[in-house]
Structure formats: C-alpha cells, structure tokens
C-alpha cells in the first residue's frame, strides 16, 4: 500500500510518464521511449517544476498502479536493506523502456579502459561469448546481470530518489547506482544473487536456496569475480585464499604438522566441499562424509570382512581433515586415541605413562606406532584371521 501511494505521489510530481513503467502494463512503445528518453535527460527538479498533469494520463496511471498492486500481492517482496519493498521479479517482466538505448555501448561510454574500476576483462570470459545464446552478451549484455540502466518499477526506490544510472547527472551530484555486486553493494544479497540465479540455477546450484551460505546472506560476488579472465575461486592455487576471508580458522589448520595439501595448491576447498549447498552439514561433494573421503582414499572403502566400527561410521571420529598436530590427521595420537573406546582387561586398559619412554623402559604400546605396532589394520581387514586387526 505504501508503495502504491508513493507511485501516485511520484506520478503527480514528476509526470505520469515515469510512473507508468510498471511491471504489468508496458506503455505503447514508441510514445513511451520518446518521452522516457526525454525524461531521462532531465534532472528531477526540472521535471517536477516543468511538467503538468493531464486527467486521462492520471486516470491511466491510477489504473496501472492498482493492477500493479494486485500483481505485487501475488509476488513476494524482498526487503531491501533500506526498509522499502522491491519486487523480486526477473527482467522478463520488466518493461522495455527500462533498458538503455544501446546496451553495452551505452555503458562503455563511461566504463572503458580509463575507468576507475576495470570491467573490460569480462570479454575474456564465458559470459561474453555472443555465439552462445545463453550468455549475457548474446542478449541484454551488461544489463542482463546489472539490471535495466534506466530506472523503473524494479528500482522504484532509486527512481524516487535520483533517477537513472545512464541519464545525465548534474556536476557534483552522485550518479544513481545500477545493480552492483560485492561487499560495497547497496543491494541485499537476495537481489544480487537473484541476478546470477536467473541462469545459474541448475546442477550444483540446485541446493543453493536454504543452504548455509545462502541463509548467511553470502553473495555470489563474495566469492566469485566476474570481470576477470581468471576467477581466483575457480583455481585450486588461489581458491583457499578466497575461502579464508571468512573461514579464518581453516587458514591456520593447513599450517599444522599433518595436513591435507591445500596450502601447496594440490587440493582446493572444492575438492571436498560443495560450497553451493549439499545435504551434509559440512557441505560435502558426495552424499555422505565417508564417500567424500573415498574419492581419494578408495582403499579404505571395503567393505571388509572384519570392520572397525568407527571407520564404517564416520572418518571424523578419529581424523580431522584440515590439519592436526598429531600424525595422519588424527584428533589424538595412540594409545590414548584408542583407549577412549578400548577398555579390555590387559594391555588395552593399562595406563601408559612416561615410564614407557626410551629414558625408562621403552614400551611397545607407547612408542613408534603404539597400538599400530601390532594392530596395523586400523581401517578394517579382509584377512580371515584379521579379527584383532593384526592381519
């Protein structure tokens, strides 16, 4: 309701023409583009003073606004950080008049090689392959991702405030923004991500909505760099540094004495983790934790004749995959690791103290491999006599 009133106020002050770019009824094309084109050249103050309202136009606007409101009730509104509502529609439902005149050529009048923020490397990426009709540059070009250059109902908040991103701006005034991405963006995560999800919704992105990163309002642009030939997050060598921006603890983990080869660039985070979402609580690439480990450690899969129960249940009962100060990525070293679960009378339950060190009476249960000096088949054994994991 509040937004429809604002529509009316806008219409009254600025001339109905601007308000008529609604989501439901596009205006007659030629008349509209001419008027809106004219409008976009004038700063708001002039428009407010100069233009008069005519009755038919006002009635038409009222009708449009009423229908738009009914339509908006059917569509969810995503709350913008600034407290107003913005319709979460896709460009398919936005009127023609909202787009710039010449597409990328309009944008590149300012966003050229001399611009402060370099964007031309987009042409070295898969997004800028015209012959592939799925790509932005086969269609709406820059505006496929950044939204319409001229403000419209989709960006009513901006339109009320300031006008169009591609329009003329007074000297000293700040240019109204277009949809932008990344940490400095004004847009909420849902709007930013909504642009990417128009195309990138399938495959590994299926579980995105409701996933840990999405509910934490991480934007696609938090991890991905689009205007570059070489997106760091898509390369094992540079990917971990992108993840470490938020996952601070993991940076230290890979410097521990026993670690997976992430810091040397042999493995990237995405060799185990599905950052776009997964059913497992730690976002793994395969349906279960063990299956993820088996993609490199298939010799541990078995199944074995004699199984070691914690191995069959979850590798992380004994191992910590990122890094550990104990050998073989163990949470703790034997014998204490094993003595958390083994309490039989005899050597399993003996307290192994410093008396077992080389300086006293060197103990087979403590030194070298400790329990694994005899029980070497810790992951299970297929030997008929492998009952005690010794064969």
């Amino acid at each position: 309701m509040a937004s429809s009133l604002r529509h009316l106020v806008f219409a009254y002050r600025h001339g109905c023409r601007s308000a008529c770019g609604t989501t439901i009824l596009p205006a007659p094309d030629s008349m509209y583009r001419q008027r809106c084109g004219l409008l976009s050249k004038l700063p708001i103050r002039k428009r407010a003073r100069g233009l008069s309202l005519s009755m038919p136009l006002l009635l038409w606007c009222l009708l449009t606004v009423a229908v738009a409101n009914a339509g908006q009730a059917l569509q969810p509104a995503e709350q913008v950080g600034k407290g107003s509502e913005v319709s979460n529609t896709t460009p398919a439902s936005v009127s023609a008049v909202e787009y710039s005149k010449k597409g990328a050529d309009t944008c590149m009048k300012c966003h050229n090689e001399d611009a402060e923020y370099p964007v031309l490397d987009i042409f070295k990426t898969k997004h800028a392959v015209k012959a592939d009709s799925r790509t932005p540059f086969a269609g709406l070009q820059c505006e496929a991702c950044h939204g319409p250059g001229v403000s419209g109902a989709l960006f009513m908040e901006q339109a009320l405030r300031a006008g169009s991103h591609v329009g003329k701006v007074r000297r000293g005034e700040k240019r109204p923004p277009i949809i932008n991405f990344g940490p400095k963006s004004d847009e909420p995560a849902a709007v930013q991500n909504g642009m990417c999800l128009q195309c990138h919704k399938g495959g590994s992105h299926i579980p995105w909505q409701g996933s840990v990163h999405e509910t934490a309002e991480v934007t696609c642009a938090s991890c991905h760099t689009i205007h570059t030939a070489h997106d760091p997050v898509l390369d094992n060598m540079t990917q971990p540094n992108v993840c470490f921006k938020c996952h601070l603890k993991e940076r230290a983990d890979f410097s521990k004495p026993s670690h997976h080869p992430v810091s040397s660039g042999q493995l990237g985070c995405s060799d185990c983790h599905a950052s776009h979402g997964a059913g497992t609580s730690t976002l793994l690439i395969r349906p279960t934790l063990n299956e993820t480990c088996y993609t490199c450690h298939a010799e541990k899969r078995g199944p074995f004749l004699w199984e070691h129960a914690p191995v069959a249940e979850e590798c992380t009962l004994c191992h910590v995959p990122h890094g550990s100060i104990h050998p073989a990525l163990l949470t703790k070293r034997p014998p204490l690791l094993c003595q958390q679960c083994h309490s039989q009378l005899g050597h399993p339950s003996v307290a192994l103290t410093t008396q077992g060190l080389p300086s006293a009476t060197p103990s087979a249960l403590l030194l070298a491999g400790s329990c694994t000096n005899c029980h070497s088949q810790v992951h299970g054994s297929n030997h008929p006599s492998g009952v005690k994991l010794m064969r």
């Binding site: 569509q75 398919a92 694994t372």
Partner: protein, 708 residues
C-alpha cells in the same frame, strides 16, 4: 560450475561406447536456447561496437630455473621440492578463441616437478566441450626410515641371509649392519577426460572419467603375538571413477540425474614377511597380512529443485548406492603346521547405501523466512555374518569368532527461522533432531536435539557481525556389551560416539571496514563436549579459537596483509587398569599459534613489484597421564614452522616480466613417539627408527614470463 564438473575419472571400457551411443543421437540436434529478452525490448541497435570480444591466440609462458639447498621430505611433502639441487620452472597458459564460441584453453603448471599438471579444454561454448587432464600429486612421507628387510616396496619382505633371530630386538646382532634407508612416499598420477554436450535447450549431458595410479610404499606393521616389526607395505593402487550425468534446467524446475562409479584395484593382495624374532611356535616364521582388497562402488543420484512460487522453493536429492568387495580370501594362516578351514572362499562383502535430503525454504513475509529439512542416510551392511575359525598372528588357533557387519540408519530433521528485526539486524534460530540407529554395537540408538540461535548485524561493507550459540543434548538408548567382543569391554566404558553428551558451541565473527583502505576480520569459536555419564572413556573435550586478519592499503603503491590466531584443543579421558572403576586419567592439551604478515610494494611506476611474506606456526601438544605416580607429564610435542618468501616482478618490456623469488623455510619438531626410538630401542618392536622431521631449506627461483 564447470570446475565441479571437471572431477574426472576413467571407467571400464564397456561403459564408454554405451554412453556415447546414448549421447550421439541427442547431440545431433545441437540447438541452444534463444535469447531471453523481455517482450518489447528491442536490442537490434545493441551492436556492441565498443566491445572487445576475444579472438585469436593469447597466453603466457614462464620458464626458469630454481634451486633447493637441502633435501627434506617434510619440506617437499606435497610441493615436489623434496630434493636438493636445481629444478626447472615451466608454466604456460594458452587460449584460442575463434570469435564464434569455439575455444581452446591450455594450462601447464610446474612442468619441472612431480606436481606437474596439464589441462586442456576446448569445444564450442553452448554446444559441446571436451577436456583432458593430467595431474601429479606426490606425497613424501618420511626420508629417515630404515629397515633390514629386503624387497621393501614389494609384497614379500625377506631378511638378509646373515640375519640372526632373537627373542628381542636387543639380541638381533645382524641388525645394525643390515639397516638400509627406505623412503616412504606415495605418488598419485591422475589422468582424466570429460565430455559435455548441450543436446537441446535446457539440457546438458556430461561424462567424466578419471584414472588414478598410486605408487609408493608406506609404513605398516606385523606381529607374532607380542613380537612386532614395523614393515614397509607396497602401494600399487589403481582407482577409476566415472560420472555420467544429465541435467535439465528451467526457471521453475531443475534436475540432475547422475551415475557415479568408482573402481579400486590393488595390484598386490597380501604382504608376506619373514619373522625377525625366534618363532614363538613351530612354523611361525613367516607372516601374511591382507592388503586393501579390490572393491567397487556404484551409485545413482538424482537431485532436483522446484520453485513452488517466488517465495518458496523445494529441493531434494536421493542417492542409491552399493559397495561391493568379493576378493578371494587369503588362507587363515600361512603357518604350515596349522590348518584352518574357511566357511567361504571370498568375503562376499556388500553394503547398500541410501541417502536422501528434502528441504523446503520459504520467504513467508518481508521479515520472516522459514525452512524445514529432512535427511535420511542408511548404510545397510549385507555382508554375511558367520562364525569363522581363525589363527592369531600365524601362531595359535584362536576361539572362533563371528564377523560383525555394521549398519547405520540416520534420520535428521531441522527447522529454521530467520527474522529481519530491522534493516541491519537479523535474528535466526532453529532446532534439529537427529536419531541414529546402529547394529552390532553397544548402543542401538542415539537421539540428539540441538537448539541454536544467531544474531547478525550487517551494515553495507562497514560492519558485518554475527554471534551464534547452540546447545545439544544426546541420549543413548542404553549401553549393553557386545557379546561377540572377546575379551569383553569394561561395562563402565562409554564410547564417545555412542555416549550421552551435552554440547555447547559459541561463535562470533566480524568483518569490519573502518575506511576504504582497511578491512579486518575477527573470529572466535568455542565448543565444549561434556560426556558426564561416561565413567570410562572420553569425558570432556573443548576447543577454543581466536582468529583475525587484516588487509590494509597503505598507499597507492603499498599494501599489507596480516593474520593471526590461536587455537587450543583440550580433552580428558579416564581408564581403569583393574577392570573396575576409573583409576587413571589422561589429559591432552594442544595449542596452535599462527601468524602471518605480507607486504607488497610497487616501484618505478609499477614496473617493479616487490613483496615479502612471513608465516609462522607454533604447535605444542601436552599429554599428561595421571595414575598417582610421579612423572605424569610427557615431553612436550612441538612443531615450529617459519616461512619467509621474498619476491620481485620486474617488467622488462611490455610483455616480458622477470620474476625472482627467494624462499626460506625452517621446521623443527619434537615427538616423544619417535625421538630416541631406534630400530632396536623397544625390545618387542623392530622399528623403522624414524626421526622427527626438521629442516632448514633455502630455495631460489628465477624465471621470465612472456605474454602473447
């Protein structure tokens, strides 16, 4: 998206022609979607005359030489620089674009080292794509191991002819003279090939193959009752993986159907070794251990998402799989004086897996968002359970035992809500219930309930903070001894994954940008597990961590990055030497400190870039075993790592850059399990005598990179 699909594996030859036959008819119609432009938008004028579309060849080549001062497996553990001396530097990227969606990309990395990788990708974007990949992943484990066994690295270990057996290692008089160095390492070589087709609008099919050969030798051990020897086991594995998938994507509905197959083959079945000790019984002079048997895994996966409305999305997946292993069983013993019959000739091991997830996420109103999800995971172990006669350590016939195939069923349900309090603040909360059922174990069922709450404050890029707290309670259905376990466990023991547990976690994260030139990240994580009902076993474990990092742009030409953190992991467990109530206590206390700082500076109008990075990591582990007697504290476990990298990039010409780097790394460690433990230190363990790694390595590198 493609990076994930690049996971390539090779299959058996039978699958490939079948796949291609299915795909070729589809790919014959190579049509793609028409441009998705809103009705009424006329883009005919959008000629993109200023667009600099890529066309032709481009790339860069880097060639050079480097040198490492010392050899150290620990320094070169994963990076290939384990050997002293010179090495070649070779990196290259090349791109070709025909201006019409045809593309070819080549990337070569570290050509002069065992870590070399080559990736070639090409095709017609929007229609098809092929790629080939080779990747070397070495793992250098230990270069200080020594063994008297001949044939180390093969499946048969023999002692030299002059070997003298003894009752303990102290009496092995031929030991010292017969010791030889043996390197413990494993090298993986992966080759992969993948094809992806877009046969029609909204469809995509892909087949990926990956073939991995892993060669090397690793540490293991074998014993004859209480006489043990650390041995070297051959690693000669081949793992083939295949993934074939079909994806369908529309705005409303997306689905992916895939087959995943993994085939593991071990070129060796067993490891046979000669007993170095006096045989404890007649005939126990050689032992035989099983090596990992060949196995295979097949899985069908379906994942799908449906946009019920603009507000609500339903997504889910299901995966049905089977693990199989049916290698011929080895003999129960190779002791010729003992004869034991086996009830079956092969393991006939099989596990059926079923995993499913379903999630509904809905933006109920402007301020409120709800989600509910359910996860099911079942591991159904169908390996036949039989009583088997067996021989302990090729020495004594033991009491028959039944093999226990472990099965698990998990059911997890989660509810979550997010409420936007105001434009910057969001409250979130949720509840999760997890039930886990197990067979053949001390506990049949555990149930865990978790409550969590989170508050997040986000104000553009200036401030981004969140505080999360969670509490979980796990109950075990009732602890009973597993009768097949012989000797039996102390009835007071509670295995920590089956025990009652109370878990608390708190975490705080903040990202701050006080100004345009600075960004700071802070993190605090705390977790405490309390097993208050466990008289024996793990009773408490706690983890606390502080982390921070900062990026500062000091000037237009200088930037700085720093990070630091401390993590402390503590745990406590109890044991009983008298098979009764607790009479000893053990405490573990690990602390890891890390710090890093890096600075980069540009000189000579950006022609010269110099930089320095310093990273340190200090790990200490304290173990204390309290029995009432003195000397509870073990020597401190220690690992100190210092890394300094200095580099300079000088632009000689427009396309030619000279790169010079110096790398110094120092590592020092103390490990009471290895320090002072020679092959004959322990009377009943003929060890490998490994040393705790320590090194001081300098490396220099000089290379030129030409960009074309």
């Amino acid at each position: 998206m493609m990076k994930r699909d690049m996971k390539v594996t090779v299959t058996s030859g039978q699958l490939l022609p079948v796949m291609l036959c299915l795909l070729f008819p589809l790919c014959a119609a190579g049509e793609t979607t028409i441009v998705d432009v809103p009705a009424g938008v006329d883009i005919s004028d959008w000629v993109c005359q200023y667009c600099v579309f890529e066309r032709g060849f481009s790339g860069d080549v880097e060639a050079g030489i480097g040198s490492v001062s010392d050899d150290s497996f620990k320094f070169g553990e994963y990076n290939g620089l384990y050997d002293d001396g010179p090495f070649l530097i070779g990196n290259a990227t090349a791109r070709y674009r025909d201006g019409n969606a045809g593309h070819l990309d080549l990337r070569v990395r570290e050509l002069g080292l065992d870590t070399r990788s080559v990736e070639i990708e090409g095709g017609r974007q929007g229609k098809y794509q092929l790629f080939l990949q080779y990747d070397g992943k070495p793992h250098y484990i230990s270069d200080s191991a020594m063994t008297s066994y001949l044939g180390s690295g093969s499946d048969t270990l023999q002692l030299p002819p002059e070997w003298v057996t003894a009752g303990s290692t102290g009496g092995m008089t031929a030991l010292a003279a017969s010791l030889r160095d043996i390197d413990l390492k494993a090298e993986r070589k992966r080759t992969g090939v993948g094809i992806a087709f877009i046969p029609a609008s909204k469809w995509r099919t892909a087949v990926n193959f990956r073939h991995e050969v892993r060669n090397g030798q690793k540490k293991t051990a074998g014993s004859f009752f209480f006489n043990s020897a650390q041995l070297v086991e051959p690693v000669d594995y081949v793992t083939d993986e295949v993934e074939a998938s079909v994806t369908y994507t529309t705005r409303k509905w997306q689905a992916k159907l895939a087959y995943f197959g993994s085939f593991f083959r071990n070129q060796n079945e067993s490891l046979t070794w000669q007993n170095a000790y006096n045989p404890i019984v007649g005939g126990a002079d050689t032992g035989q251990r099983a090596l990992p048997p060949d196995n295979q895994f097949h899985q069908i996966l379906l994942s799908s998402g449906y946009q019920w409305s603009e507000r609500t999305r339903v997504s889910g997946d299901i995966a049905i799989g089977r693990m199989e292993q049916d290698e011929a069983l080895l003999a129960a013993t190779i002791n010729p004086t003992l004869g034991v019959a086996l009830p079956r000739t092969s393991a006939n091991a099989q596990v059926d897996t079923l995993t499913g997830n379903l999630k509904v996420d809905s933006t109920v109103s402007n301020k409120l968002r709800l989600n509910v999800s359910y996860r099911y995971n079942d591991r159904d172990n169908r390996t036949p359970s039989e009583v088997l006669d067996w021989v302990t350590t090729d020495a004594f016939v033991a009491l028959p035992r039944r093999n226990l195939p472990y099965s698990f069923t998990d059911n997890t349900m989660s509810l979550g809500a997010a409420y936007r309090l105001d434009k910057a603040t969001r409250l979130r909360g949720g509840y999760e219930y997890a039930k886990k059922e197990r067979t053949n174990q001390e506990v049949d069922e555990t149930q865990e309930s978790t409550f969590w709450a989170k508050v997040g404050v986000h104000v553009r890029e200036d401030i981004d903070m969140s505080l999360k707290a969670a509490h979980a309670e796990r109950d075990a259905s009732g602890y009973h001894l597993v009768t097949e376990t012989d000797p039996s466990q102390n009835p007071l023991l509670r295995k920590y994954n089956l025990a009652d547990r109370s878990r608390d976690t708190v975490s705080f994260h903040a990202g701050l940008s006080p100004n345009e030139r600075m960004s700071i990240g802070l993190g605090f994580d705390f977790s405490n597990d309390d097993y208050s009902d466990s008289a024996l076993g793990l009773s408490e474990s706690q983890e606390v961590g502080f982390n921070g990092d900062a990026s500062v742009i000091l000037s237009d030409v200088t930037s700085l990055h720093a990070f630091g953190g401390r993590q402390r992991i503590k745990s406590e467990q109890a044991g009983s030497q008298t098979f009764s109530t607790p009479d000893w206590l053990a405490k573990n206390d690990d602390t890891i400190d890390s710090f890093g700082i890096g600075v980069q500076h540009q000189l000579m109008q950006h022609k010269l870039v110099v930089g320095a990075d310093y990273v340190l990591s200090r790990s200490t582990g304290r173990i204390r075993v309290e029995t009432g007697a003195p000397g509870a504290d073990f020597p401190v476990l220690k690992a100190d790592l210092d890394t300094l990298k200095l580099y300079a990039d000088y632009r000689l010409k427009d396309k030619l850059t000279l790169h010079v780097a110096y790398w110094y790394e120092s590592y020092d460690s103390k490990d009471w399990m290895l320090d002072g433990v020679d092959p004959d230190t322990v009377s009943g363990v003929l060890g490998l005598g490994e040393d705790t790694p320590r090194y001081d390595v300098h490396a220099v590198m000089i290379s030129t990179r030409y960009r074309f």
